[in-house]
């Protein structure tokens, strides 16, 4: 009984979300909500303010340089975790024998 109720609930949720997807503006239209004044500012002023012709690079390493620093630190943390688990330690045997 409970299982059937949950599946009906999920089906209703699925229908609602499908309706919401159909209401979204088609991809690439200029009046979509994601194209706001921030996008316009970047496209109009990136060359003047950074001197780089690649706007993506200008956003990554000038406007959002803090975010890229965070990304780099994520890579560093991931590699430190992997090395601390996987890399061989030649001293481990010696310590165990003593």
């Amino acid at each position: 009984m409970m299982k059937r109720l949950i599946s009906v609930l999920f089906f209703a949720l699925f229908l609602a979300l499908s309706y919401a997807v159909l209401q979204m503006p088609p991809a690439g239209t200029p009046d979509a909500p994601s194209y706001n004044h921030t996008t316009e500012h970047y496209l109009a002023n990136a060359l003047e303010e950074t001197g780089a012709t690649n706007v993506v690079a200008a956003i990554l390493t000038d406007y959002r340089a803090w975010d890229t620093l965070g990304e780099t630190i994520v890579l560093f943390t991931a590699i430190v975790a992997v090395i601390s688990v996987l890399r061989k330690r030649p001293t481990a045997e010696v310590i165990r024998d003593e």
């Binding site: 690079a57 890229t68 780099t72 090395i83 890399r87």
Partner: protein, 142 residues
């Protein structure tokens, strides 16, 4: 892998892949690409070398020590370049206001700190890919 064709082709291809990776990194501010894409290219060339010639030969080319140094060095270069902004009286990671060379649009030396940060990111991504791959492929002898 002990195949003469694969070994010969790899020996010819690896320098070209690495040169293309360096090209993508250095042109990150004027054409599509950048530190992440170029670093991945150089890392992939070293993965190809490891697969063909074995871990032992590859670790002579890219040792653990070099991996550790470039792993920390990439972030340190990034932080030092960011601190120039503070020294010159602005915010952390200030670009043109901190006195970096603006240059002519489209030239290799332009965009202020963007190419320098791209080089730092490229070093970081390269060493991350190859260190991860070597750490996973190394077998415990015991």
């Amino acid at each position: 892998m002990n195949d003469i064709i694969v070994k010969t082709v790899t020996r010819i291809m690896v320098p070209f892949i690495q040169m293309y990776g360096i090209f993508v990194i250095l042109n990150g501010h004027i054409s599509p690409g950048g530190g992440f894409a170029g670093g991945a290219l150089i890392g992939v060339s070293l993965i190809l070398y490891t697969l063909v010639f074995g871990v032992g030969a590859a670790e002579k080319k890219f040792s653990h020590r070099l991996g550790d140094l470039s792993e920390s060095g990439g972030i340190l270069i990034y932080l030092v370049i960011g601190s120039v902004g503070i020294v010159s009286g602005g915010y952390f990671l200030t670009n043109l206001d901190a006195g970096f060379l603006k240059g002519e649009a489209g030239a290799l030396l332009s965009g202020g700190m963007i190419p320098l940060l791209m080089v730092a990111i490229g070093i970081k991504v390269t060493s991350t890919i190859i260190t991860l791959f070597h750490a996973m492929i190394e077998e415990d002898p015991s």
